[in-house]
């Protein structure tokens, strides 16, 4: 993957940040897994193909990680290594949760942890209805797999060249205004106020500046949002909720379908809905005056358009990149995701970190797996045996590992930010909770 110097620096800094927080680990994290890739012939992993699917935010990660996992395992275990795992299906976060509950996915991925409660309502109440083991939240483990930032990509053709140097600065009030229909022009006073650099200077004969006029174009703002239910929307709405409070109080489900929240339930009439991250990026590219929220790797991919700087909680204008997203994640290292007695992680948000270098719109994505596979019959198309559960646990463990052969290196290559050490530790602890018929899997 091509990466500019700033990107490389960012990654180096992110790694430094990662090392510095290594000491912090969540309470109760006992096991230290190492991304063990040894498979014995008795493990029967070579022919197993557990199905995985869910969040489209995770697609670039899983679809690179699965082949690398198999080839790395083959280096260690030869023909005993897993070699038949299919690629990941990017069916959407809710579909990932539904799939793992129904047993059609062995691993369901979601940008919103299962069981998250917003304003007193459980977002998954319709999935987790009933008392069967499959609909009981404590029977799952949730493993953070990737960390990503959400960028505000925009298209202002008349000034694009200039914005490469001086990107537009926006804050949460303006973003809320844009998506609410309150701000309809790019030269709105609120936007001009945030962008003192984008001005035309009128000078008198002596060369002294007599007037500064806002040079933001007189162009309609076209807010682009995700028309399909989406975890990327969840992260964006989570940010607006955290910063705009009363203006963006949302009901259950509204995070995933943000159009419910805009303009009290109606999208501004010039709003555009796109399908998946790629659809939003395409809509922004094709529409002058458009702004849309997309996962950071899509801004890297479609580097023709800039992403706005966002004013963070500390009042600094911050671009979206691996460094600033890692900084934001690390701002929360003092308050790691709380695990309840059943090992449940939910309601974990890392938007709007307070550090000076924090990019405020970021979130984790999670892999959701049944905690004990005994008696499940079939899971994701494979027999729910100790061997197949072990394979999935080893895969997720490898995914959470940093270092030359770990899954987080793959994540980094795909434009995600490596998990901070305290979150890797959380991932390992979650995996260590997995049992078969009540007995620990005994991974090393």
């Amino acid at each position: 993957m091509k990466m500019n110097l700033r990107g490389k620096l960012g990654v180096a800094l992110a790694t430094l940040g990662l090392l510095s927080t290594f000491a912090v680990s969540p309470a109760g994290a006992s096991a230290t897994l190492t991304g063990d890739l040894t498979f014995a012939s008795a493990d029967g992993a070579a022919s197993l193909n557990p199905a995985m699917g869910g969040s489209s935010f995770d697609e670039p990660f899983f679809n690179s990680a699965i082949p690398v996992f198999m080839s790395e395992a083959a280096k260690v275990s030869g023909s005993n290594a897993p070699s038949a795992i299919s690629l990941y299906s990017p069916t959407g976060s809710t579909a990932g949760k539904k799939g793992v509950v129904a047993g059609t996915y062995a691993v369901g991925a979601s940008d919103v942890p299962m069981g998250t409660v917003v304003n007193g309502t459980n977002l998954d109440s319709s999935i987790l209805t009933g008392t069967s083991p499959a609909t009981t939240l404590t029977n799952y483990v949730q493993v953070p797999v990737v960390l990503g930032g959400v960028g505000m990509m925009y298209n202002l053709p008349s000034l694009n060249a200039r914005f490469k140097k001086d990107p537009v600065v926006l804050n949460s009030t303006v973003l809320a205004g844009i998506y609410d229909g309150a701000i309809t022009k790019w030269n709105d006073p609120a936007i001009c106020h945030l962008n003192p650099k984008i001005v035309k200077l009128t000078k008198n004969k002596k060369g002294r500046i007599i007037r500064r006029t806002c040079e933001m174009p007189n162009l309609s703002v076209v807010p682009v949002y995700r028309a399909d239910g989406s975890g990327t929307s969840f992260i964006f709405m989570n940010y607006l909720n955290a910063t705009q409070g009363a203006n963006f109080k949302t009901s259950a489900g509204a995070e995933v379908y943000p159009s419910t929240t805009f303009n009290s339930g109606e999208v501004p009439s010039d709003g555009l809905g796109g399908q998946k991250n790629a659809g939003v990026a395409a809509d922004v590219e094709q529409t002058a005056g458009a702004i849309g929220y997309v996962e950071y790797s899509y801004i890297l991919l479609q580097h023709t358009l800039p992403a706005a700087l966002i004013v963070n909680a500390a009042g600094k204008d911050v671009p979206v990149n691996p460094t600033t997203v890692a900084a934001d994640a690390n701002s929360f290292s003092a308050t790691p995701p709380a695990e309840t007695s059943g090992g449940v992680v939910s309601n974990y948000s890392i938007v709007n970190g307070t550090g000076a270098g924090d990019y405020p719109i970021a979130g984790y994505s999670w892999a959701i797996v049944r905690e004990d596979w005994n008696g499940l019959g079939t899971v994701g198309g494979v027999t729910a045996s100790l061997n197949s559960e072990k394979l999935v646990a080893k895969f997720l463990d490898w995914c959470s590992q940093p270092g030359a052969q770990g899954g987080q290196t793959v994540a980094q290559q795909q434009g995600y930010v490596p998990l901070p050490a305290y979150v890797s530790a959380l991932a390992e602890h979650q995996i260590s909770l997995m049992t078969y018929n009540g007995v620990s899997l005994g991974l090393s």
């Binding site: 399909d228 489900g253 379908y257 339930g265 009439s269 094709q286 002058a288």
Partner: protein, 323 residues
Amino acid sequence: MNTLETEETEASETKSEVAERIRLSATSDRPYRWLLRGTALFFGAVIVVFVWSVLHTAWPAIRQFGFHLVTGKTWVPGTGPYGALPLLIDTVLTTLIALLIAVPVGLSSALALLYLVPRKLRGFGAALVELLAAVPSVVYGLWGIWYLIPWMTKTLQPFLASITGSHWPFGGPQEGFSVLLAGIVLSIMILPTIVAISRDVISVVPADLVEGGLSLGATRSQVFTRVVLPSARTGILGAIALGAGRALGETIAVAMVIGSNAQIPHSLFSTGATLASTIATEFGEATGSTGSALAALALMLMIITAAVNAGARMLTKKAKAGL
């Protein structure tokens, strides 16, 4: 015209007589008869089960929201309210735009392919049109995004807006993604259906009629509009109905270019969402009431397409009777 009438009545009488004879005569191969009846019954059963299952999924939403599902003006996935009026309007509007473009163009192409294009090029022209039918709809969607949107925003929309100003039907933001664009893309998608079928029905218009018209001194356009098209109108209505059916139900291409914004259009430049595009867009993440409301949309779509088909059948019958 009188001779034609008697000929056709005689022909249809013979046909039904033959059918009756087959029904009565085949005493010897009973198993074969049961096989045929079985397959016919099987497909009937599939349709019944299909409708029942859609109705079953939609039932909670229908019971909870009732007629509001059809008349409500706001469609909010995830939480409700689920009012499909904007979706219904956009579905009908995009189909009307598509027909408005595709019917005249399609009929003219069919006439041209039969009567005007040099004989050597006819096969080639027909093959080109049929090729259009084989292009997957997602390709039309991509083409719409990449090529039609820049053309819309730079050329077509400013031109149309300069005619009407800010008044209906052209006004408001010129984003490219719009009900109008969805209609244009649909018109290209249904064109091959209309051309292929109307060409087939026009080609069986008796040469005597055309020659008769010409010998009476009619011009080419008079022959086309007063002789050829009226005598083929039954088939042409069928072609239009098939095209309308495809336009009503088209999903991916529409979802890609319409802007996925469920609102009652304030102009043809407005973004929108159709029944089919909404089902496709929102189904993946649908839980609880949203899933049921989407099934209700599917039911509405089925009713509309069935109504279009029934309407076309009725018109066809009337047209036959009027001949």
